[in-house]
């Protein structure tokens, strides 16, 4: 692109860099910045959550009530969208929720790396949920699990079409499940970067134009607030969809 002025490269922030180069055979298993931040997210989540659970007292302090709120929030989500039996999956849903939430939030610190902005991470999480649903569903219900694809009360002449659509939508789930989270984080960070670089571009211009830099700066602050909301919402939606898919494994057949 032949544009004058500082070039905008909002993709740069998502680049993977090797921190420690490890090659096993033909496989590249290097420690990258993504690995480091994933470990950081896990450590922070684990540390904070175990701090909230330590020395619980009758009248909870700030930390403990934060932990209890998170627990009750996810508990309510699991119970309401997947039923009482889904509580055996509560640890999984809670882990996914906390991991995604902390990954999203830690990504907001300047110079940090957003783990969830890479589709491979979210796809791994979504496939974990997908295979849990399939394996648990078949193990628990056997062939009855496939009633999931055959909605009751559909006229016989359009049934083949409906079944085909149900099967297709079932297999597309991990795609939409993972792309929703990754695209939201990616687009959010790109938008923040673009508006941030508008400030820099305007400040580099002549004095009369410099004043205008306040506009994209205000916009950046507003967007940041929106992105904080989105970071929480997407973690919530990811966990919520996990519950809905688990509901299919627990109660197949419409």
């Amino acid at each position: 692109m032949a544009e004058p002025g500082p070039a905008i490269n909002p993709i740069e922030q998502f680049e993977l860099t090797r921190v420690l180069r490890i090659i096993v055979g033909n496989a590249d298993v290097s420690i990258t910045n993504s690995t480091v931040f994933m470990a950081l997210v896990a450590l922070v989540a684990l540390g904070l959550m175990s701090m909230t659970a330590k020395g619980t007292v009758g009248v909870p302090g700030r930390l403990q009530s934060m932990g209890e709120m998170a627990y009750e929030f996810v508990e309510g989500m699991v119970r309401s969208s997947a039923g009482e039996e889904a509580m055996r999956f509560f640890p999984m849903v809670f882990t996914i929720f906390v991991f995604v939430l902390f990954a999203n939030l830690i990504g907001f610190f300047p110079y940090s790396f957003t783990v969830t902005s890479h589709v491979i991470i979210t796809a791994a999480l979504a496939l974990l949920v997908f295979f849990t649903v399939v394996i648990y569903g078949i193990k628990e219900h056997g062939l009855h699990f496939f009633k999931l694809f055959v909605p009751s009360g559909v006229p016989i002449y359009i049934l083949p079409l409906v079944v085909a659509i149900e099967i297709f939508s079932f297999f597309v789930r991990p795609v939409s499940h993972s792309v929703r989270l990754f695209a939201n984080m990616l687009a959010g960070h790109i938008t923040l970067y673009v508006f941030g670089s508008f400030v820099v571009m305007l400040l580099a211009a002549s004095a009369a134009v410099k004043v205008l830099a306040i506009l994209p700066f205000a916009m950046t602050i507003g967007l940041f607030a929106l992105e904080l909301l989105v970071a929480f919402l997407q973690a919530y939606v990811f966990a919520m969809l996990t519950c809905m898919y688990l509901n299919d494994a627990l109660h197949p057949g419409h």
Binding site: I11, V179, L186
Partner: protein, 79 residues
């Protein structure tokens, strides 16, 4: 006009077309909150119980706009 310039032009036109999708998501989000307010003003006591669903619907609808925005960004910066 040579092929390289044409490709750049096509890239920008494609990014512009992809951005239309964000407007479509805007219609969806507007409908969502409009209908919610409509219902909430009729029955304010139900607002608390349905707030979670509102936010869930918002996130799912807004994600579609984000998908369109993502395509636009990919065309602009990654292709």
């Amino acid at each position: 006009m040579d092929a390289a310039n044409l490709a750049v032009a096509a890239k920008y036109i494609g990014a512009g077309l992809a951005a239309i999708g964000t407007g479509a998501a805007g219609i969806g989000v507007g409908t969502l909150f409009g209908q919610f307010l409509n219902g909430a003003l009729r029955n304010p006591s139900a607002v608390e119980g349905q707030f979670g669903r509102l936010i869930f619907g918002f996130a799912v609808t807004e994600a579609l706009g984000i998908f369109a925005l993502l395509i636009a960004f990919l065309l602009l910066f990654a292709v």
